[in-house]
């Protein structure tokens, strides 16, 4: 019951800025940053405890590669020391190397070669598919600088396919976006949350009347 009321109050506190910037919203905004930061740091401490402290100090595996990783990680704090910022570029370099190698080794199979497999040209849909992939790839050929009409036509058709794909994405994106505020609404208009929403609406109406009088 009380949790529901707080839920509704917290939501309305954040949304109150839709009408006008106000102290309630600023309180909420700063609380979010603080709580979020706290959550991140406690999770981070937890990870360090499990992944570095336990193996190194409880199990005593000093002579392992985990020690090296931890030291590289600690080097990142060099960014905070004046004149020694360059040291922090080492952990960043190692991190991008790990991320890069992992992404590259996966991308070849799934994102490039896997997508080249075409269905048999037995139905209109399949033919469209082949044409679509082919032409939309020609759109991304940059070093061809020709007035060849066939090539131009191909890039134009490819662009149509790209646009339809992006439009489809936009339509679906709308569903995602609108689901975000909708998700909070049931807590406002049903259940105990109503007892918070109604006073808020009254305040809103009062504010509108007050503003229009000015």
């Amino acid at each position: 019951m009380i949790d529901e009321l707080i839920y509704a109050a917290a939501t309305l506190m954040i949304w109150s800025a839709l009408y006008r910037d106000n102290p309630l919203f600023k309180i909420g905004q700063n609380l979010i940053v603080g709580l979020y930061l706290g959550m991140t740091i406690t999770s981070g401490l937890d990870v360090l405890y499990r992944k570095a402290w336990t193996p190194l100090f409880i199990e005593g595996k000093f002579l392992s590669l985990i020690t090296v990783g931890t030291i590289i990680g600690i080097l990142i704090f060099a960014r905070l020391i004046k004149g020694k910022e360059w040291i922090a570029r080492y952990p960043i370099a190692v991190l991008t190397a790990i991320g890069g190698s992992v992404a590259v080794s996966g991308a070849m199979g799934t994102q490039i070669l896997g997508q080249l497999q075409m269905p048999p040209l037995t139905s209109i849909d399949n033919i469209l598919m082949v044409v679509g992939v082919f032409t939309s790839m020609t759109y991304f050929l940059f070093s061809v600088r020709t007035q060849n009409p066939i090539f131009k036509l191909s890039t134009q058709i490819g662009k149509i396919f790209l646009m339809v794909a992006l439009g489809c994405m936009l339509g679906l994106e709308f569903m995602t976006n609108v689901s975000l505020p909708i998700g909070a609404l049931p807590h406002l208009v049903t259940g105990p949350g109503v007892y918070v929403t109604i006073p808020a609406l009254i305040i809103l109406v009062a504010a509108i009347i007050y503003d229009s009088r000015k």
Partner: protein
């Protein structure tokens, strides 16, 4: 005055505020008074259901739970549906589930909310039936490591128990020992098939509706077995499970706001077109 953003008062143009007000009314009404529009179940959702049903006896599921807190309304219904279904196969077929979060701390929060408030976990024992490895940041490199060598990347679970002390997981080393991969993500779906598709195991995806079109090519190429697109997928899954819940309650509001948006687009474009014509003459 009507279309100025005033920094001092922090107010938006009046037209925008009216559009928002209509939006809230349009979305709130069907939540208060449900219409209950029928919902088609798409083929992909049925595939998803069947894939979970087909997990072999005593199979192991790796569930990378990376949807965030803010997108809870979008991802929650589909995640709840998936976990509810998993609990039923856990009870029937002795399936084991390993939860893990790789993208950031938010995933663990959403997972805990779901496990404690939305899914009935009674009859299942933590550590025996399911396990939470907690947050292992690193995203794509963690995903790769989870598939290659589980015990190296996660020596302990979230409570600090050593994995080697848990009998059923001691033999689970890497991708060849999992029977199915599940992931839920509120951002780009690319890294998951990139790291896991090479092992030829079924991959299930819980994704935002927005990324459904993005996942399509992977689905077409057989890398992702099936996916649930956001709230809509969650609602469909609830129908399949026979327990309408969170997702279904949002669907009417979704319908009306979609119509509202289309009307808005058309009105704005007609207005713009007329104005441009007026400018030319």
């Amino acid at each position: 005055m009507s279309d100025k953003y005033s920094e001092a008062a922090g107010t938006f143009p009046r037209a925008d505020r009216i559009i928002w007000l209509i939006f809230f009314i349009v979305a709130a009404l069907p939540i208060m008074f449900p219409i209950g529009l029928p919902l088609d179940i798409t083929e992909v959702t049925r595939d998803y259901y069947a894939t979970i049903e087909d997990i072999p006896e005593a199979g192991v599921v790796l569930y990378s739970f990376d949807s965030g807190m803010g997108a809870f309304a979008e991802m929650g219904p589909a995640d709840i549906g998936t976990i509810t279904h998993l609990t039923s196969v856990m009870k029937e077929n002795n399936v084991k589930v390993i939860f893990v979060t790789t993208a950031g701390p938010e995933g663990q929060v959403a997972l805990n909310v779901i496990l404690t408030q939305y899914v009935d976990m009674s009859g299942l024992v933590y550590g025996e039936d399911y396990l939470n490895l907690g947050l292992i940041p690193g995203y794509e490199s963690t995903l790769a490591a989870l598939a290659e060598d589980l015990h190296k990347i996660a020596p302990t679970d979230v409570e600090g128990t050593r994995l080697t002390d848990i009998p059923w997981i001691a033999n689970v080393r890497g991708a060849e020992d999992y029977d199915i991969f599940v992931f839920s993500t509120a951002t780009s779906p690319d890294p998951y098939p990139r790291q896991w598709a090479q092992y030829d195991k079924p991959i299930l995806a819980v994704a935002q509706a927005a990324t459904a079109s993005w996942i399509r090519p992977y689905h077409e190429a057989g890398m992702i077995t099936a996916y649930l697109p956001g709230q809509r997928g969650g609602a469909e899954y609830e129908v399949l499970l026979g327990a309408p819940g969170l997702g279904s309650s949002y669907m009417d509001a979704q319908s009306l706001t979609h119509v509202y948006a289309i009307v808005l687009i058309l009105v704005v474009n007609i207005q713009w077109y007329l104005k441009r014509k007026g400018d030319e003459t």
